[in-house]
């Protein structure tokens, strides 16, 4: 027995020794006051040493690689941007210059920009980027360049001329960062490589203000160090980046992220559950969020919606789609999904940034007067007070009552304007108008079959929208439709893309955020891109909706430049058309519960100072580096 006792004592002593040696856990061995620690939502990177961002080789993208070391011609900030405009000429010194018929685009480049190894950035890098990818199918932008570019030349070191195969007034979008864009390759590095598709780009040279310091061979963290010559990068126009080091980490699931931030070991949480955010706001005095109070989250320029498969005969009639919309009680959906922290939209654009001033606010009068014909009467389905009602509901909760805005503009900004009124009577009339019948409390399709809907949701992958979808399916079921939510781990690749779904919660609308040009998503909604039934649909028209009026709008947008004010009017035409036709039922913006700890850094973007999107995997978040200031001496 003595040996056992010795062994047990030894194990206990060793464990105690390890624990005693432990301090309250630190994330980093670097000076904490000089280090910004950020969550990378990609998690643990499968192929950590792969830095070739131009090939999908399992390396991380938002590990800091795209935010801190990459650069391209232009950026459009999802919020206001720095320098007075959301549009930013980054490596380009000016906006794109097109010829009259949009078959040629000329780019003037900024001078004095250098790669981190001391080589100057020139037009040769841009030309090399395009030609190399065209010559190597399988590289990320290869196909996009191949279908559009006839030739690319550099008449001098600071000018690039693209000749296009077909007119395209939005060709510059490929080099314009929303979340990211076509990053410029270092010609002097890649031209020495045998095969750019198989090159890992280890020790990457950087065009941004930071360069690689270290990374975890297991893929859990990446650390970048400020370049000594940061003044020779495009970011320097806005000032000196404050953090000497920036680490992007995989902090684990929401509970661990929350704990790490409460312990001041994680400066920015990329996204959290609503409950995680509420806990942080309750327990921490140092956590900031986009909105200072409820709903806290940043509304991304992405529009989750109920997406109908418009090639399914059941959903080809707009009356049916409208009837289903009128059965949704959006207040209950908001509470079930985001616990009240949603920003609602009845229109087909996300309720965020410039869309609020260019589309949402100006169209309120039209929405209030908008009518639909149920076959028996005309109704005005829009309720402009829904946002206000949600604010009032939340104000009754003691926990949040002081955090709910009272100013109508602030309420609209936080919770959205209005939404459709639940109207079961009008829904029944619309179903009857479409040939549906109610038999014994159950709705039957025009051919006498039970009306059955399977609403595909993403399960645990996106629990907030799974909760929304589940409740919507229940609301339809309560009306007498055989409706159920069907979880799937692969909604996009196995459902939306092949068209193997009836109805799904997903999104087919993504906007620039800081720019009102809707072509970013709308161009892909043209009928020419709608796949035949059974074939794969190209993004983003997952609803496979084809409409001649929409085609005309898109063609008109194609004929004008991206900054032509007519674009906003054409955008409103699109919004009116989709409100009438309801090919999808817009719900709310994709709210991201980004939280920022002010223990070590201050100056994060918020609704009060919306210089960029705080969500740190966006390439635009590089702007944070120059606005942050140390919070401690």
């Amino acid at each position: 027995m003595k040996q056992w006792k010795k062994l047990a004592f030894g194990v206990a002593l060793a464990t105690f020794g390890l624990i005693a040696a432990a301090k309250a856990q630190d994330y980093t061995a670097l000076p904490r006051k000089e280090t910004l620690i950020v969550e990378n939502p990609e998690g643990t990177i499968k192929n950590p040493g792969w830095f070739n961002i131009w090939v999908n080789g399992g390396g991380g993208v938002s590990t800091g690689l795209q935010q801190l070391t990459m650069d391209t011609l232009w950026y459009i900030d999802p919020e206001k941007g720095l320098g007075g405009s959301a549009w930013d000429n980054s490596l380009a010194s000016d906006k794109p210059q097109y010829n009259n018929d949009f078959t040629q685009m000329t780019v003037k480049l900024r001078k004095g920009i250098y790669w981190s190894d001391g080589v100057e950035f020139t037009a040769d890098d841009v030309v090399y980027t395009v030609k190399t990818q065209m010559d190597h199918p399988g590289m990320n932008w290869s196909a996009a360049f191949s279908v559009q570019v006839a030739s690319v030349e550099a008449p001098d070191p600071y000018t690039v001329v693209f000749k296009l195969k077909k007119p395209n007034s939005r060709f510059h979008a490929i080099f314009t960062v929303r979340w990211n864009g076509a990053w410029i390759m270092p010609k002097h590095v890649f031209e020495k490589v045998a095969d750019p598709v198989r090159y890992d780009f280890a020790n990457p040279v950087s065009l941004g203000a930071y360069k690689l310091k270290a990374f975890d061979p297991q893929g859990k963290w990446y650390t970048w160090e400020k370049r000594d010559d940061w003044q020779r990068t495009s970011l320097a126009r806005f000032g000196e980046p404050a953090p000497k080091y920036v680490s992007y980490v995989d902090p684990g699931p929401p509970d661990k992220r929350t704990i790490a931030q409460l312990e001041h070991n994680l400066d920015i949480i990329h996204d959290n559950t609503p409950e995680g955010m509420f806990t942080l706001k309750e327990k921490s005095k140092t956590v900031e969020s986009w909105f200072p109070g409820f709903p806290f989250a940043h509304p991304d320029p992405t529009l989750p919606a109920v997406i109908f498969n418009n090639q399914d005969p059941l959903f080809q009639n707009p009356d049916v789609r409208w009837a289903l919309a009128l059965l949704i009680d959006i207040k209950a959906v908001d509470m079930a999904s985001y616990r009240g922290a949603a920003t609602l939209s009845a229109l087909g654009v996300p309720p965020t940034a410039v869309a609020m001033t260019d589309y949402q606010a100006p169209m309120q009068d039209w929405l209030k007067n908008f009518e639909i014909d149920t076959g028996k009467r005309k109704i005005k389905p829009y309720d402009p007070t829904i946002g206000q009602q949600i604010a009032d509901i939340l104000r009754k909760q003691p926990k949040y009552k002081d955090q709910i805005p009272t100013d109508p503009a602030a309420i609209s900004s936080a919770f959205g304007y209005g939404w459709w009124k639940p109207d079961p009577q009008a829904a029944a009339e619309l179903f009857e108008k479409a040939g549906f019948k109610k038999v014994g409390g159950k709705w039957m399709t025009p051919d006498g079959q039970p009306f059955k809907i399977r609403l595909t949701v993403e399960g645990d992958t996106r629990s907030v929208f799974t909760r929304a979808g589940t409740l919507i399916a229940q609301q339809w079921a309560a009306f007498g439709i055989d409706s159920k939510a069907a979880p799937s781990t692969s909604v996009w690749q196995a459902g939306l893309q092949p068209g193997d779904y009836q109805v799904a919660i997903a999104w087919s609308v993504e906007t620039w955020g800081g720019d009102p040009d809707l072509s970013f998503f709308l161009d892909s909604w043209h009928s020419e891109f709608v796949a035949k039934k059974g074939e794969n649909q190209a993004p983003r028209n997952w609803q496979r909706w084809s409409n001649p009026e929409l085609d005309k709008i898109i063609e008109n947008i194609r004929r004008i430049s991206a900054d032509d004010p007519k674009g906003i009017e054409l955008g409103k035409d699109y919004l009116k058309l989709v409100a009438q036709q309801m090919p999808t039922i817009p719900l709310m913006s994709y709210n991201v519960f980004t939280s920022m700890d002010t223990t070590y850094w201050k100056g994060y973007p918020t609704i009060a100072d919306p210089y960029t999107d705080p969500v740190p995997n966006w390439a635009n978040s590089r702007l944070m580096m120059v606005k942050l200031k140390p919070a401690q001496p």
Partner: protein, 334 residues
């Protein structure tokens, strides 16, 4: 009566058949899932702002060619075995062109380290307490200790993992709850690094040990309870043989034979990784890798990891079977 060499050859044939069928089944199951690695890759590229509808079909063709996914499933199957015969698991499809073997090699030591230590500690702890509890049935201390471990046994280990995270990561923040070592630490071999790795492994190992010990304990206690009623144990007690010797030489040794079979099976299953534990603690092992491979539809990586697991378990069973007749005279080769 079969001779021992013939028995070994037959079992080796069975081992090869199990490996062949297991890997073949995995090949077809992975290829029949609705997740297509090319579409996953296109999805990833599209998330990177690439969504020109005109370019998608061209992208699809290029990637299919690049990944070697052209031809029928049977052609791919034959190609796969042809490659595997030369020890080549092929390139990962979600981390193309990096070889599957390189990706697995990075993660495997972490899983083997964590799981082997956990399995062996659990085995020693469970059997020691089980043997003592079975022999000294009146000891209140042993009863209490047994009760604690037995009560913990049905708790799902990930629930216990979350409890440990809350306790040692938040309430009493003295242990790391994420990863294999501290961020930005110097990875050159040193005492500091080893201690850091050990510290990071305490909680994941503890969650496995606390839950796993009960199973061994119950088994051992039951075996000892049976053995102490055997004639040779009774005679030894009557003959005045010291209790410690009876427990060690008469009881525990006999009871350990079936337990070692279980240990070999557990060590064989080390290659499976402990998926949920690794995810909960952010541990960089093959469990985490397997989940990401499944989500990405990375056939090659899933097959590589499955092959490892199939070979590991089948080899463990094979070794137990061929060693059984040599170490336990009660087992006959028939």
């Amino acid at each position: 009566m079969t001779s021992y060499p013939v028995f070994v050859l037959k079992r080796f044939g069975q081992f090869l058949l199990v490996v062949f069928l297991g890997i073949s089944a995995t090949f077809f199951i992975t290829h029949m899932t609705p997740i297509d690695p090319v579409e996953e890759s296109i999805g990833t590229i599209q998330q990177m702002g690439q969504s020109d509808p005109r370019a998608v079909e061209l992208m699809r063709q290029s990637l299919r060619e690049l990944y070697g996914l052209e031809g029928s499933i049977w052609q791919q199957y034959l190609h796969f075995w042809g490659r595997l015969a030369t020890g080549d698991l092929g390139p990962s499809l979600s981390a193309f062109p990096t070889p599957v073997s390189a990706i697995i090699a990075r993660a495997l030591p972490w899983t083997i380290g964590l799981m082997t230590v956990s399995v062996i500690l659990t085995f020693i702890l469970g059997n020691a307490i089980g043997a003592l509890a079975g022999y000294c049935r009146k000891s209140a201390v042993l009863k209490a200790v047994s009760l604690v471990f037995i009560a913990m046994q049905p708790i799902p280990y990930y629930i216990l993992a979350f409890v440990l995270i809350i306790l040692f990561g938040y309430v009493w923040p003295i242990l790391p709850i994420n990863g294999g070592y501290e961020m930005n630490t110097n990875l050159n071999l040193s005492v500091t690094l080893v201690l850091d790795i050990l510290r990071h492994s305490i909680l994941p190992a503890l969650s496995l040990i606390l839950v796993g010990t009960g199973g061994w304990l119950i088994g051992m206690r039951a075996l000892v309870s049976n053995i102490i009623t055997e004639d040779y144990v009774v005679f030894a007690e009557l003959g005045g043989v010291p209790k410690r010797k009876i427990l060690r030489s008469y009881i525990a040794r006999n009871a350990m034979v079936p337990q070692f079979t279980g240990l070999a099976m557990s060590l064989g299953a080390v290659f499976n990784g402990t998926v949920i534990t690794e995810i909960v603690f952010g541990y960089p092992g093959i469990g985490n890798l397997l989940i990401s491979a499944v989500h990405a539809g990375d056939y090659s990586l899933v097959l590589g990891l499955s092959a490892l697991s199939i070979v590991g378990v089948a080899a463990a069973v094979f070794i137990i079977d061929i060693l059984g007749p040599l170490i336990d005279p009660r087992i006959k080769v028939e």
